[in-house]
Point group: C2
Chain length 269, copies 2
């Protein structure tokens, strides 16, 4: 322990399929806790119940924003077979469910490594030391965004026009991400990072809030230590909903996690 992410996602067993944790306000965007953080809290409880060690796929439906404070996680072990385990988690705050998740885990050691030729290559980025953080204590970009103190995100300097009122033509943000306090990345960290990067609509100058309705993430390999490269794209803004696809590569250049979410653009109609 000792790392913020582990402290803030810790759960305690409190009876058959029941766990207790605390939703902190250290991973907020405005007054809402970040979705990746809440998923990690639920995945801690699922990980304690599912026998296979490696998270493969998780879907989260965000039902309402939770209040900071005590939370309960109710876990159901749905099924285990030889290569897969499936479970469900319901996260509640003050008796009200705020997050429903279904996840499956496997054992990556029981299969061989990647086949050649079907691996998505990492984006072509300047190295992290040549990239820039945004915001800071006095910046409106990170005002009230407590998660910005927990995650260190760096962007290629020539892709930061949107922070200066010069939007790009493409709804895409790319860069590097890691925990600010030096916590090593692991599969739960991947889930946090997938939803911890900014919405790609920011790049085209659409800075409205974009709450996630549903997010599905796939973890494809255990990540190597170091920076993660990310690439996020938004497509198909229709009926006020937008599709967002994110991908992460580890320091060895392997695609280690991907996600797709449907989010609702607030203020758009």
């Amino acid at each position: 322990m000792g790392y913020e992410f582990d402290e803030d996602t810790a759960v305690l067993a409190a009876g058959e399929g029941r766990f207790e944790g605390v939703v902190t306000d250290r991973w907020n965007i405005g007054d809402r806790p970040n979705g990746g953080y809440l998923m990690a809290l639920g995945l801690r409880a699922l990980g304690a119940v599912l026998p296979h060690p490696d998270l493969l796929t998780v879907t989260a439906h965000f039902l309402r924003p939770p209040r900071p404070g005590p939370a309960e996680v109710h876990v159901e072990h749905v099924r285990s077979g030889r290569t897969l385990s499936t479970g469900e988690a319901r996260l509640c705050s003050g008796q009200r469910e705020f997050l429903r998740m279904v996840a499956a885990s496997t054992d990556f050691d029981s299969a061989e490594e990647a086949a050649a030729g079907l691996a998505t290559p990492p984006p072509d980025l300047p190295p992290p030391e040549a990239c820039e953080r945004i915001g800071g204590e006095d910046s409106p970009l990170t005002l009230g965004v407590t998660i910005a103190q927990r995650l260190e995100v760096r962007y290629p300097p020539d892709e930061l026009g949107w922070t200066r009122g010069e939007p790009s033509a493409e709804a895409r943000v790319r860069g590097w991400i890691r925990f600010a306090d030096g916590r090593p990345v692991d599969p739960l960290g991947l889930i946090q990072f997938l939803d911890g990067v900014p919405p790609a609509l920011f790049a085209v100058g659409m800075l409205d809030p974009l709450p996630t309705i549903e997010l599905t993430a796939h973890v494809r390999a255990r990540p190597a230590p170091g920076w993660l490269a990310f690439d996020v794209r938004d497509t198909d803004l229709v009926h006020g909903y937008v599709e967002e696809t994110a991908m992460l590569w580890d320091s060895e250049g392997r695609a280690v996690a991907t996600s797709r979410q449907i989010a609702k653009l607030i203020g758009w109609s």
Copy 2:
């Protein structure tokens, strides 16, 4: 009624949150019912319970193949807010759950039409009449694939090398799809089509079975009548699992549905 898809996905209310249906063998790939067909069966029951009319997002975890025959669908109405309803369905055959789904619906009429500039354009395909069906009664490509009689799928002639033992370099299949018996497409049909097209690994000559572990689909608009264009890609074959992304466009060229699934390559290790 009268159309095969409606007959085979019909459910009858049988008590509080409980529905009865029948899994037929008319949508099989080998001895396994197709996942999109099973999802449509569950979505019929969910649609009878959720007050918002338009399916927006659905995730399915395939726990085991069901036996053909009677099935029960247990539906939970998780939450309804102003713009969204969320529900869960558990599909059981002989007391054993074979499919767990979580879905959310909305009302597309309550939002305006698509914003310009963020719509994925359809693939550049020859028209359906210049495209070809594959298989047929005597072909090994469709032997035991009863779903091939239910769905009419046509491919650009110059992208069919894989059916003649001349695989492509790219794991991608594209073409046109519709119900063979003339049933008009609707959101449930979109879900069927997203999982009714062939795996894109076929194009690179990998013809092994590829059962779906988890599939998430997003419906983005009510489809116009007529053929649907599809584009399916497989990426990141790692640890025996592959990522598959599919997209559908209606006859007016609008992106109406998309899906991403994680599937397990049987016979690969």
